[in-house]
Amino acid sequence: MNWYGIRAIYKFEMARTWRTLMQSIASPVLSTSLYFIVFGAAIGSRMGEIDGVSYGAFIIPGLIMLSLLSESISNASFGIFFPKFSGTIYEVLSAPVSAFEIVAGYVGAAATKSIILGALILITARFFVDYEIVHPFWMLGFLVLTAVTFSMFGFIIGVWADDFQKLQIIPLMVITPLTFLGGAFYSINMLPELWQKITLFNPVVYLISGFRWAFYGVADVNIGVSLGMTLLFLLLCMTSIWWIFRTGYRIKT
């Protein structure tokens, strides 16, 4: 195992985070704070409880997931896309590092950034609403699992994208709508029956539901199903990455 290689990629990617602190950390924390002010404090104070949880507290897991998903994807996709774009990918390809080590470096750094961001949002939320975490270990487990899974998904997008527009299109046009419609701001039980069934095709529902269960012990879908769906998506991402390195898809000619 080339530990120095993994560390080099990881450190390089993390250095980019500290270099772009405003964009990487401060900006998502600020936008999430605005969500808390608008939905939690202003609108939330006029809304009733959902499943016994105040509205301000109810939206915390969804808001963390919203940032976690988009940041995991954008960090990891940019991490691998930029060396392709600038041509510096030659160095990674010619180095004695395996596909696993390359992914560990890029995905590890992207997931770390997202987890730091999730923790910061959680701390920020405390300034606006009271909340408790019923299953803290499960909460941490879901946080890490989701960050790693979606960083892998971001890695795949970064490999697939051959211009900046493609890099943005999946997070903006697919992930953000799915998160908003995945129960970030409401319980899917509040939807008409037909829409409840349709919503179950949205994979983000399972992530938010599982994460919310870890916070408050209440969920839209069974926790086992949530965990299973998340693991299934992780497996899909791992298989896709394995295929990318096996065939050299958009990395090697």
């Binding site: 080339n2 290689g5 600038s86 510096t88 090697k252």
Partner: protein
Amino acid sequence: MEPIISVRGLGKTYTGGFTALKNVNLDIRRGEIFALLGPNGAGKTTLISIICGIVNPTSGSVSASGHDILRDYRKARSEIGLVPQELATDSFESVWATVNFSRGLFGKAPDPAYIEKLLRQLSLWEKKDSRIMALSGGMKRRVMIAKALSHEPSILFLDEPTAGVDVELRQDMWEMVRGLRESGVTIILTTHYIEEAEEMADRVGVINHGELVLVEDKHTLMQKMGEKELSLHLPEPLQAVPESLADLPLSLSEDGSQLVYRFDIKSSDTGIAELLRRLNDANIDFRDLHTRESSLEEIFVGLVKGARREKEQQLTGETQG
């Protein structure tokens, strides 16, 4: 001695159908400077990219220091450093960070003393904290070399190392390359500047249309394939080569002021004595004379043109057949 790089039956056909390499066989000797020459699109960069692991081969095998580049890629790649043709750098990184990154990527433990020595050798030490984007093109090229040498490779590929750099930097690089060879590093360079190969290489390989046309010791090549010219400066210009000398390989310069005689370097009888005698018989005087050997560039151009003619003849033959 076992070659440090061994290429056997290497072929590469890209997805679009373009064949960049055809059955290339090549041995690079340990410790030599090998110059790979060829026109644009000949397959030089593809060959280097396959050896370094950037491009997948379609057929054939390559070993570096006895390690197969696919089966034993870790050991093979650890031995190799690459300076690519394009100036691809992490613009926002500092020189120090990017060179240390490269060392780590190649699985080497941090060694600040070695990196300092390397940066000093490449006159980069003063710029170690500068962002790469703030450096000149020449300095960026040095950074690329520092990155390639950061893991102390025994084989160094330089793909067009002096393209677009000024004369002074080119001389510095030649000096550095010689220094590396003295320290035991095997160097393979591709270049458009034939004088570069002539100046530095021990052996020369010529590649054209994906085929290795020849591999030869530089001096042997220049002796074997080179011609020599004897130019005679005439006091009075001539209109044409006199008929009495028409059977000799003589030509007249455009202004008629020089007679140029071409002869084979390796021939025991150059025919110069006879030429001088017959010039005397024809009452042709000369006020000065000098000789010149054909350069590697002329040999290279001749080889490439020859290969092209051969290909055209083949094609014509196939069409007629």
